[in-house]
Symmetry: C2
Subunit: 353 residues, 2 copies
């Protein structure tokens, strides 16, 4: 142990051949005698040779590495993304460099810088919203880049996300069809495109149904940022807001939330007030997290195409990496969601009798 790493030179010296012959023999080039190749392979094996990826990358000009920038791995949706992307990249021979930004703009900028320094061949990023200039620059400077889940409408960057707008529309409509006339939506308090999209879809469904609320039915959940923003979403803040709503007196027929964790808080607030789901209030979630089907009552929610997004994004990225000259128009795709109806929205009454 602790012995210096074996290099091509060591093998070459030990066998009395040139370094370069060893290189060709080991990388499978055909300009090598069968016997020589065999001897070299054997010796490499004997010495325990392991190729040095760094050196290789340096001379080849390709890091054989993808960068993945995530705001919060504890978000189950992003966790799925991480798995999928790592796997898909690995299949194509790429290693993954992971950077966590925790919704920090500085972290976001630093991440772009780090990726540039390492010269990753491409990057997949869930950007911290706000100023995306640095991502645009990274892209311009030759590192292909695909944004995940959060779009910068103003920037000409590839984007693979979720069709939150339609998902929210569909779910809201479902609640309306179930008889709800007064609805509200509890949303994350981040200035990101998914929130904007869900809000739009929600409002559109209301408008179509001819429902006009006096006060704004979209409520932002005031999230208390703790030690670290990377904490799993907490149902607690939504719980508090839901309590306010319940106590406020103007109890809505249905409550829609931006993510399933919020639904947990809503459930509790309602239960504590002696209200029942779905008899008194319908509830619709977003994300179809693993616990959703096992709540009491099981939660109606919008399932996100997590795996699809991961593979689609990697494939698009690989394509961009290949054809770095042909400037295809940037692609902005929103993959479809799936409404999963469960008991939290099932009711006897319906406007569609």
């Amino acid at each position: 142990m602790e012995s210096r790493r074996v290099t091509l030179k060591d093998i070459a010296k030990s066998l009395g051949v040139s370094v370069n012959t060893v290189s060709r023999a080991l990388t499978g080039k055909d300009s090598v005698g069968e016997d020589t190749r065999a001897r070299i392979k054997a010796e490499a094996e004997r010495l325990g040779y392991v190729p040095n990826s760094m050196a290789r990358s340096l001379v080849l000009g390709s890091a054989m590495t993808l960068g993945l920038v995530i705001t919060n791995p504890s978000n189950p949706f992003y966790a799925r993304l991480i798995s999928t992307i790592e796997q898909r990249g690995r299949v194509h021979g790429y290693s993954l460099m992971l950077l966590v930004t925790e919704e920090s703009p500085d972290g976001d900028r630093a991440a772009a810088e780090t990726l540039l320094r390492w010269g990753v061949d491409g990057a997949l990023v869930v950007p911290v919203q706000g100023d995306g200039e640095h991502w645009d620059r990274l892209n311009e400077s030759g590192v292909p880049l695909v944004c995940l889940n959060r779009d910068f409408p103003a920037l000409d960057l590839d984007f693979i996300g979720v069709d939150y707008e339609h998902g929210a529309y569909e779910a809201t409509r479902h609640l309306v069809d179930g008889g709800a006339r007064t609805l509200c939506l509890l949303e994350e308090d981040l200035p990101i495109s998914p929130v904007a999209d869900r809000t739009t879809g929600f409002r559109r469904a209301l408008t179509e149904a001819g429902i006009e609320a006096g006060t704004d039915p979209v409520r932002s959940v005031p999230t208390r940022r703790r030690e670290s923003l990377a904490l799993p979403w907490e149902p607690e803040d939504a719980y508090r807001l839901a309590q306010d709503i319940v106590r406020g007196g103007d109890l809505p027929d249905a409550i829609m939330v931006g993510n399933d964790y919020f639904a947990l808080g809503v459930y509790r607030a309602l239960t504590e007030a002696g209200l029942r789901v779905p008899e008194d209030v319908l509830v619709g979630g977003f994300g179809d997290h693993p616990f959703a089907a096992y709540l009491n009552p099981p939660l109606t929610t919008v399932r996100l195409p997590a795996a699809d997004i991961g593979t689609t994004a990697v494939d698009l990225l690989l394509q961009r990496m290949k054809g770095r000259d042909d400037h295809d128009a940037t692609e902005k795709r929103r993959l479809p969601t799936e409404l999963v109806v469960r008991d939290s929205s099932r009711t006897g009454k319906s406007t569609m009798t």
Copy 2:
């Protein structure tokens, strides 16, 4: 865009100085005139110079990278680990290379190989259980390595994990104190040390309480592996097993589970059979996942020191990386858990009246 990356040589040429003066000026070495340094810095800025980490690492012999090998990022406990480790490493200037193994022995071996090729300065790994030989070899060949969460008792490797044994003991004892006389434990069907440790703790508590079960009270949840093992744990398999138990007739007073997701399945099976928690059956979980406190009833569970494990492991790793010669004995630490008592185990009756 698409222009070749700016190098030290470019700056040197542009300014008529030597490459290495530029290097020293930019890396802050003091053997450079103040004026020269200023000019160089300005020119670097103007040209948009970005250091090439690969080249730097190659010559420095240090990748400035840590490897993290995880079986399944969708496990919330591991997700926390990822966040913590990435952050802690970054603070010390290290980038993170992430590898996902999905409980595949081949993937596990491949991961070790990849880390070796990249020459990471150290590795943190949640090993796929079974044969850990390759991790031992990686360690022997000069890459410091700390195992996370899962120990190889037979191998002389550093290990930072959870004191599952005591955690399970404490939780079980709590259930016994609550009046339970017949208990069972639903466990993951993986041959990993956490399962073994929890089982040991559970059994010890029973023995101490003088409880002897006829049939083995430890039940392995037959997990159906789907498309990918990286799926979030599914409550479904535990649900099925719990159904069997309920229908079997020998209903236990209390059910303990190896992770909170299993508790979701248990809750449902009990509810569907018209049984109430905690009145008819006490339930204890493991993990204190974000939803645990919001179930109905709130779940008594064992909280894991996720963040602690991450930081402790990184710190130990950094220490190993520093003192690569002084062969301190390997460290195997199990950090303490915390029993979080909630309503799922609260009952009037108690043996401790």
